[in-house]
Amino acid sequence: MEVVDKGLLQQLVEGQISDIDVDEMRRMTKKDPERFWTYLDILQEKVTWDNKILMRLNDHLYIVMNGTERIVKCDCGHEYGDYRVNWKLHTDIRTRDTQDSMEQVYYPAAAAPDPEWMELREFYCPGCTAQLAVEIVPPGYPLIFESFPDLDRFYREMMDKPLADESPDWFKDKTADFLAAL
């Protein structure tokens, strides 16, 4: 297999692909660079809104163009604002910090993290309540900014298709600026 076609990739995205096809994909000597564009096509067709998807961040979240802005958006349509700010700051957070609440999500009970030392954070989309992320960290730990892609560099260097609004400013973490303004 040299190229993964759209139908097969769609099956992969939907979790309906056969193990044999997955094995074939894994045996590709070199990954097909055009996959990214096919992937974006499939994802764009899945969502109900029109913003152009620049990159998939998460099962539900995308970096999209919104006018002249690049924002994070959920497939339900909820918008998280500037993608340079850790999107977790725009979620709803539930904290599990008791033994009982830890045991609701870890089994057997002996496997549950110790609430005397750790807390479990669940991040939900305010729009659709989807669980977007889980962190298990000590109290007082900063939110983890899991993925902050350099879109300009990726589109220019890896995909040979520079974005029209390139600017060095796009790859500056704005999380602290957002928090300073609170």
Partner: protein
């Protein structure tokens, strides 16, 4: 031009190792190519000859592994295959590796550089067929003294052109705490039998004193000598093969082809990275408890509890190679969880090597595409030569999984979903020592739950148990036959997958495994500890994948003075997993002193009918668990991998399993339960900004337990992380953390 001879060596300067090492670095710095090799001349001129040449090298190291393990070996070397054989250049750069511990290619150049920098060429001399050994984390790049290296120089007419290298994990390291991953170690002097690179034999034969050292300084001398013979047997085979190949192809062809092989793989690995990764910054963290308070009272400076913090930032350099910065990771301490940069790289390269060198010659070309940054003073680069490093694996496999996690997020974002999964692999080892009834002392390590980890969940399907071991391509189902008959008092009372034990999600991680070890005929004395990765106080990594839960840590349960004989007499129904030990105890069926440990237990003195139960090898989930198909939950219940009550709290699936194993789901009750779980998400959560303000107040008022404040003070003693921490909580520069 007159030939310059290096004094005392009788060799032209350009044939000395010191010169080669210097020239390799200079030419790479100048050109960005290995040894300045801009053109792959030999490959271009005669590719068939070039590939045949490489296949001869590859065959030599593969043959060494497959034969040497059957010459002599401990169970760790043979049954587990915790070993690797490799061929390196004169400077120590790997050319070809067997299956096995391939990330140890990071350590070979550290040992060889140490020997070159310390004039070993002059004294004691580096000659064809000499045998060198080492296991010292500081000077040889060994992760810990349990990993022992044999290095054999291959010289033609006095010029070293290659090294045959081998490493394996030995069965006992000779530390005060028996086994091969001591936890309760204060400094290097308590790590066990630590030796920097030294000449231990000549003409492919070890000196007799070397065997005596193993017998006197470790508790499993016979096993360790078997492993030593195994490593040397393989190196001897490689030594012979390379002499034949060099003669057949000519030494000059040999030397030039080796440079081209590494340069070729450097380029291909870089291309693999560029074609699958996305430039950016990917943050990760994990934690590992070091609970020593009250247990190191002789050494007061080590008598403390610490939560170790591993913080990483994964990014790309200008070429597209990987930059892995560990700033913010804790400062080193008086415990066994430190390591030096070489050994840290061995951990880091576990996933990187297999991920990016899959389609090319797996050589030192990997190393040239990875910049690892270990800040001085941290657990990965102590600013002392005496730090204990006996058990860096307890957290470095987590550290490497943070790198893999970033890579797998990249695969997902770029559309290569078939390669993406939640890369977590908790592991556990039972270790200890004892004295048999007849007075025979012994020490041991059981690698059972080192080799059989689970795959994490993919973005399109569940993970699978017993199919992954990040440190080797040769995972197994937790092989233990040879360990069992070589560790007299440990018998398996039970062994199977531990139901529900994984990170859950839309797609769940592979379920972990569990054993219940039953002590019989414990003789005069038996003491047991563990040496493993994250305990169940924490999860394996901090972040789950896209809404899934990260893998749980390792479960350890001890049961002393049990009524197991009564249970056997009654109906033979005894616990078969760690979870069942606790469940039987809760029901009152199993009696005794039963403890579930959230941290490394101190040595447990065990007698007949005591139990040591552990569970490990669980992996992480992917995606929102409430998006999991109900039918998948029902199927998990049917096959015994998910208890019904937990299916309800985790997935909202209400189902019952009858005596025949048939599972029936109550659709209406399930809908109601899942609606309730969604409702609880709204009811029990708050906007992140509100949460942030409350947490900031906690941070500012120091209402966090003291050990965790100490952890933050340790991490923020590194300037970059201090800025990161203060920026997030918006703390003034003069605020005392």
């Amino acid at each position: 031009m007159a030939t310059v001879m290096k004094e005392g060596l009788g060799l032209p300067l350009e044939k000395t190792l010191a010169y080669k090492l210097s020239q390799r670095d200079t030419t790479y710095d100048e050109t960005g190519c290995y040894w300045g090799t801009k053109e792959l001349t030999l490959k271009d001129q005669d590719p068939i000859k070039y590939e045949q040449f490489f296949s001869r090298l590859q065959s030599a190291v593969f043959a060494a592994r497959e034969k040497a393990r059957y010459v002599a070996a401990s169970p760790g070397g043979r049954e587990m295959g915790e070993s690797v054989w490799a061929l390196a250049t004169a400077e120590g750069d790997t050319l070809a590796m067997s299956l096995g511990f391939i990330s140890h290619c990071a350590a070979f150049p550290v040992s060889i550089k140490h020997m070159i920098d310390n004039d070993f060429e002059d004294n004691p001399g580096i000659n064809d067929g000499d045998v060198f050994g080492t296991d010292d984390p500081l000077t040889s790049g060994a992760p810990h003294p349990g990993d022992t290296y044999t290095l054999v120089p291959i010289a033609v007419e006095g010029e070293v052109i290659a090294w045959a290298c081998s490493v394996n994990h030995i069965m006992e390291a000779g530390a005060p705490q028996a086994g091969s991953w001591p936890v309760f170690t204060v400094d290097t002097f308590m790590d066990g039998f630590v030796f920097p690179p030294m000449k231990t034999g000549e003409n492919l034969r070890q000196a007799k004193w070397w065997e005596t050292l193993w017998m006197r300084r470790t508790r499993a001398g016979a096993m360790n000598i078997l492993d030593d013979k195994m490593r040397l047997a393989g190196c001897s085979m490689i030594h012979g093969s390379i002499h034949e190949i060099a003669e057949e192809y000519g030494v000059e062809y040999y030397k030039q082809a080796c440079k081209e092989i590494i340069e070729e793989s450097r380029r291909m690995i870089l291309d693999n990275m560029r074609s699958t990764l996305i430039p950016g910054r990917y943050e990760g963290s994990c934690f590992r408890i070091s609970m020593l308070k009250g247990q190191q009272t002789i050494w007061k400076h080590a008598d403390k509890n610490e939560m170790l913090h591993v913080h990483t930032m994964f990014s790309q350099d200008e070429k597209g190679g990987i930059v892995f910065d560990t700033e913010g990771s804790s400062r080193w301490g008086y415990h066994g969880f430190n390591g030096y940069p070489g050994g840290s790289d061995v951990g880091l390269y576990l996933g990187i090597t297999t991920t990016f060198a899959h389609s090319c010659k797996a050589s030192a070309g990997v190393n040239m595409n990875v910049e690892s940054i270990y800040h001085e003073g941290s657990i990965y680069n102590p600013d002392t030569e005496f730090a204990a490093c006996a058990n860096i694996w307890a957290q470095s496999m987590q550290m490497q999984c943070l790198s893999s996690s970033a890579i797998h997020r990249n695969f997902f974002m770029r559309g290569y979903l078939e390669e993406a999964f939640a890369p977590e692999d908790s592991w556990d080892g039972v270790q200890g020592s004892g004295v048999l009834e007849d007075g025979t002392p012994y020490g041991f390590t059981n690698f059972e739950w080192v080799g059989g980890g689970a795959m994490g969940a993919y973005p399109f399907k569940d993970g699978t148990p017993c199919t992954w071991a990040q440190h080797t391509q040769l995972c197994n189902v937790g092989n233990s036959e040879e360990f069992e008959y070589l560790i007299p008092p440990l018998h398996h009372l039970g062994r199977k997958l531990e139901p529900g034990y994984c990170g859950h999600g839309k797609y769940r991680g592979g379920v972990g495994q569990s054993s219940v070890h039953w002590m019989q005929e414990t003789g005069q004395r038996l003491g047991i500890t563990r040496g493993g990765s994250a305990t169940s106080m924490t999860t394996f990594l901090s972040s789950g994948m896209n809404g899934g839960y990260p893998a749980p840590g390792v479960i350890t349960v001890t049961a002393l003075n049990t009524n197991i004989p009564d249970l056997i007499k009654a109906d033979g129904d005894t616990p078969t997993t760690a979870g069942e030990v606790l469940a039987y105890a809760a029901k009152g069926k199993l009696t005794g002193d039963i403890t579930s440990w959230k941290y490394d237990p101190p040595e447990q003195s065990m007698g007949d009918n005591d139990l040591w139960a552990n569970a490990a090898g669980a992996s992480g989930g992917w995606g929102d668990p409430l998006e999991r198909e109900n039918s998948s939950v029902v199927e998990d219940i049917r096959i015994g991998q998910l208890p019904e009550d937990f299916a309800k709290t985790m997935y909202g699936v209400v189902a019952t399993k009858d005596e025949d194993g048939m599972v029936t789901m109550d659709e209406a009750a399930t809908k109601q339960e899942q609606d309730a779980l969604y409702a609880s998400r709204k009811a029990d959560s708050k906007p992140a900004v509100e949460w942030w303000k409350e947490q900031k107040a906690k941070v500012e008022s120091h209402t966090i337990r003291e050990e965790l404040l100490e952890m933050y003070r340790s991490s923020t003693s590194f300037a970059g992380y201090d800025k990161h921490y203060r920026n997030f909580w918006q703390l003034d520069d003069d605020f005392e953390i």
